[in-house]
Symmetry: C2
Subunit: 655 residues, 2 copies
């Protein structure tokens, strides 16, 4: 029943056979499908684990080296400072001093502002710009990262902590929780790096981050209306609705002096930002603008002090260096879970920003940043920070960009910045007494408004609708629900996208491009011609439990449709189904069952089932599960072309 | 800098070029990589949705038909009874009567036993073997499914409900919750089918189910020691430890008469099971054994009644048909959540069993069972059951196998079985008064022991270690924690496996098999030769946010290793990297960024990056994101062979 000889008259050997003949090869040379080199379970596990945890093969430099070299490499590996310090020159130092001073002028006002965003003392912001950069300069491998507090992590910490604990009435507890959260953030970051689980942060896809940052920026900007409008009573909640209602239910508290001055400085800051964005060479304009505004606004307030009232200022700031805070870490009690949760979320977010920024500038200068090593560096820096009155820090995008543009060459620019902050802490803090809060709000708004990347969102929409959905979910999740839930929803959407692709993979019918050995999708390539009596189906996904039923049904539908088409167009009967397994990158036990069952079903219908080009891991599984034996020698081919040529010649042989 | 002409002397055109010449084609015919036919967003969405929800294209029969035919097809679609009833013959009826009576003899003792497993009245078990089979015979599309209560669903319902509500002291509430859970199970099943979300049950992979069933079978068997040992006080909890401690802390309650009789019948039942398994033709031995044992043991108890005490019996069973129970459904109050949860879990488990059994026997007889339609049928049957004093029912594996072996031809065998149960309910229930509980325990143990499929577990271990892990997780999860959590862990492991495969995909270096156009993995195919100056890397996964960083690092490592090898072996310099995109079945925005960044990095190192054979969806995304423009015409090839031939000839042209 395999051959319906009365219908074979239309049948012709496809062009493949001809071209193979023409090159003087044996007419039907059929290559064997090989198994991958056999390995024991332990070897396979070892290979798999090394691919999972050490894809970059960090030890390759240590191979075939003397003990001394190995020691030097080891030191350089763990402390990148040994890598660049020996070659450090006066020329490099000059560049680093210039860039270090430039980022210090940005870091001081931003440090004060971001600390406010986290509902912390302005001094904590300055402390956090002093110790962590020093530690990073020893451990970090990025040359352009400018370390310090960042807006997203500050915002998230402020939000999550103040939903449970008030930063004003329970000030001490709040501070303890902030340091504890910082400690756990650091511990989490360092562990991720140490356990080489860095890929965890990859699950925050770019799409998720675009939406998340835009949502956070909107909320933060609206929250800054508190300072910009001079409102005294404001919600501590972070959802859109309570924030908006705080703004508009307190119109009686709006202070026109604050509004005028605030809007003026905001316009100034946004203008300098625009100028620097249009002409990157003028980066120093936006870099210098915050400090200039702080100085100008402080002078203005001092001058107008006797005449104008109602402008809130920072107030007294004590002089002095970071006090130790390890005694303030809080490892028990009812709020520990909150501290850990806050630490996890801020930790993962600051890590994402730090790694992404580091990688961006590394790729611009063509050097590598080792993600796992960076995680350890950032984590240790935060753990040390939590013991010296600092809160969560990481590499800041805005300051790193300024650092890069100002010509930074090594992490020494961070040391220079720390020195500048040291001077500020020791001598200059009293000068901030009359600095108005509104200028901090203006600085924050200017910083976060750049996080709203509508062009990226538009590109997501254009290229990938499901990525756009993840982006929108995290945007609205953050705006209306909360930061962790918004993020969780977006990660869920991203993972769902992967699962959907696996659950409903593409399949297609392939045809032969005449004069070649090439088989391609017939709907895509007009040249591609269906081969009579054959149905060649490509499966574009691993065959898993999640899609094995679908694939079986879909393949049977392809066959049904082909048979209907053949019958209605009076072509030669379908006799063989070839599954192109090139893109089937893995198979599990359900998938193996499907293949085997499909073969049985087709056998009952007098159709031959053949697999073309299974990849190594699939071939192994086919072999281990003994399915290959049921297929026999004829059921496996290295290419579709060989399968078509060999099978059709066997039909010719037995008329 | 692209060409290092002093190192090109080793370079030779690969054999591909030669063979192409030999077949009288233009020496370097390069085929264009086509975009798929362009579609609007709405068309794409429609195509995608129809692939997700209607992969089987259920409306294809309705195309190009008259109105009358469409009506007939529609009726046949929704009520398969119209499909087979017109051709029903006396011959078929004869087979169906024989098989119907056979499964009734199994269904009656099993119905009573399984109801006990769910802590329900034995009568409920008989009711559930009467109404649901009748409804299924109208709606169901499987011809061999024998419908009724099953062990797994009974067990899970009994477990989940009695963890919160006692079936003895709160008997009425328990019964209400059981019917309500049945209603929600049916609602959930019917909705899944109606919304065409049937693929949800695919996420319970075979590996998960093997572990789950074995764990459940162990627990249930141990629980049956209550009946088999005659223990009166027994835990209602379902974890291993409380059950075992119940058995051994009540040694004083063990009754030797019960034990002797119980073990004797258990041995009898297990022996008949063994005989039928060895010789499938003798299926009637194990099919008749339960009813025989029930009759024998009842007679024994009646005879020995005056002499032997301490054997617990079923007791009085009222005669009569299913009373309506819609007034007992419970849609409010504190236990509603429990009823819904129980309904969901039993619903999905019974659905999985029913669909799997239906598909198994359909494939044996070469007909199709439509999963979504079956879900609607099973769901409606359960919803109707919950209003007529039935609890969760589905297609039972053991009874369906007997049904099939006894020669059932259509669902009429279910009607015959229902009729036999009807007669039992109306006239024979008083006969069960002296049926001992121990025989029910023996029947349950015999039924569930077949669920422990250690051979399948061994095969999982042999073929796929991660599948085995999922299996083990669900086994121990069910044994030590609880049914829903055990299942959730196993599904989590299965999904983690998919994500792991995406996060850490295989990559490999391809080489050229001489005399062909074929390029294959060099570690797998010894024939495959590396092409000088080229590095051909195959990527075996979609490029997503979850793996884009990994892939970039891994590809750079391949290049680094190749360059080191080239340098140490004095070969011609690496000049071009070809990415084989055949198995890259999808790409997202992060993946696009990776490709584009990789190209920039390689450009700085004077290396050319070229993509070979991107699939349709990837090509679309490359096009939409404008990355193609940066690649230009030279960056995309239809096959690796053409890429190698074209690029190396262009090098020859410009010396």
């Amino acid at each position: 029943m395999v051959l319906n000889s009365n219908k074979v008259e239309n049948f012709s050997i496809p062009a493949v056979g001809a071209s193979v003949n023409a090159v003087q090869m044996p007419p039907l040379e059929v290559h064997k499908v090989c198994l991958p080199p056999s390995k024991t379970t332990a070897q396979k596990l070892r290979h798999r684990l090394s691919e999972i945890f050490f894809p970059d093969n960090p030890l390759h430099r240590f191979k075939n080296q003397t003990w001394l070299r190995k020691l030097v490499f080891g030191l350089q590996y763990f402390f990148p400072i040994f890598d660049w310090a020996p070659n450090y020159s006066f020329e490099l130092l000059k560049s680093d001093v210039v860039s270090g001073v430039t980022i210090a002028s940005l870091a001081i006002p931003q440090g004060i502002s971001y600390a406010k965003l986290a509902n912390l003392d302005p001094r904590i912001g300055l402390y956090s710009s002093f110790v962590p950069p020093l530690i990073y300069s020893i451990l970090g491998s990025s040359r352009h990262l400018a370390v310090g507090p960042v807006s997203i992590a500050s915002l998230v910490m402020g939000t999550m902590l103040s939903e449970s604990v008030s930063s004003t009435t329970e000030h001490d507890l709040y501070l303890k929780l902030a340091f504890t959260a910082t400690f756990f953030a650091g511990l989490f970051q360092a562990s991720l790096g140490f356990l080489r689980l860095g890929f965890v942060i990859d699950f925050l896809s770019k799409a998720t981050l675009v939406g998340f940052m835009a949502g956070a920026a909107v909320i933060v900007s609206l929250q800054q209306l508190k300072g910009l409008l001079g409102i005294a009573h404001f919600t501590t909640r972070m959802q859109l609705i309570p924030v908006l209602s705080s703004v508009f239910h307190r119109i009686d508290e709006w202070s026109w002096q604050t509004i005028v001055m605030g809007v003026a400085f905001l316009v100034f800051l946004l203008t300098t930002r625009q100028i620097s964005m249009r002409k990157p060479k003028l980066f120093w304009i936006s870099a210098a603008a915050p400090l200039t505004s702080v100085i100008l606004s402080t002078l203005l307030v001092v001058c107008l002090k006797s005449k104008v009232h109602g402008i809130q200022t920072i107030g007294h700031l004590r002089r002095g260096l970071n006090p130790p805070s390890s005694n303030m870490l809080y490892f028990h009690g009812s709020h520990l879970a909150l501290a850990i949760k806050t630490g996890l979320v801020t930790g993962i977010l600051s890590l994402t920003e730090g790694i992404a920024v580091g990688r961006t500038f590394a790729s611009l200068r063509n050097y590598q940043v080792d993600g796992n090593k960076e995680m350890v560096a950032i984590g240790l820096m935060n753990m040390a920070g939590s013991c010296s009155s600092c809160y969560v820090t990481t590499g800041s995008f805005s300051r790193s960009a300024v650092n890069y543009n100002a010509g930074a060459q090594t992490v020494v620019s961070n040391v220079v910045m720390a020195a500048a902050v040291l001077v500020t802490l020791l001598f200059l803090t009293p000068l901030f007494h009359y600095t108005p809060n509104l200028i901090l709000s203006a600085i924050i708004i200017t910083a976060v408004i750049g996080l709203i990347d509508y062009q990226a969102a538009y590109k997501l929409w254009k290229v990938d609708k499901l990525d756009f959905l993840a982006c929108i979910c995290s945007f609205f999740g953050v705006l209306f629900i909360s930061v962790p839930i918004g993020l969780a929803i977006a990660v869920g959407v991203s993972v769902f996208k992967i699962l959907l692709h696996v659950t409903r993979p593409n399949t297609g019918v392939l045809g032969h491009i005449p004069g070649t050995q090439i088989y391609r999708n017939v709907t895509r390539y007009r040249d591609a011609m269906r081969v009579p009596s054959f149905l060649i189906i490509s499966i574009e996904a691993p065959i898993y439990f999640a899609n094995s039923t679908y694939l079986q049904e879909r393949i049977l539908r392809w066959i049904r449709e082909e048979e209907e088409w053949v019958a209605s167009n009076d072509r030669s009967n379908l006799k063989c189904v070839i599954l192109d397994m090139t893109a089937v990158t893995a198979i599990d036990t359900s998938g193996l069952d499907t293949i085997s069952e499909l073969r049985k079903i087709l056998e009952k219908r007098s159709l031959k089932l053949v697999l073309a080009n299974p990849v190594g891991s699939v071939m192994e599984k086919l072999h281990e599960s003994n399915i290959l034996e049921s297929f026999g020698l004829e059921g496996l081919y290295l290419t579709i072309g060989e399968a078509v040529a060999d099978i059709s010649s066997s039909w010719k042989a037995q008329p």
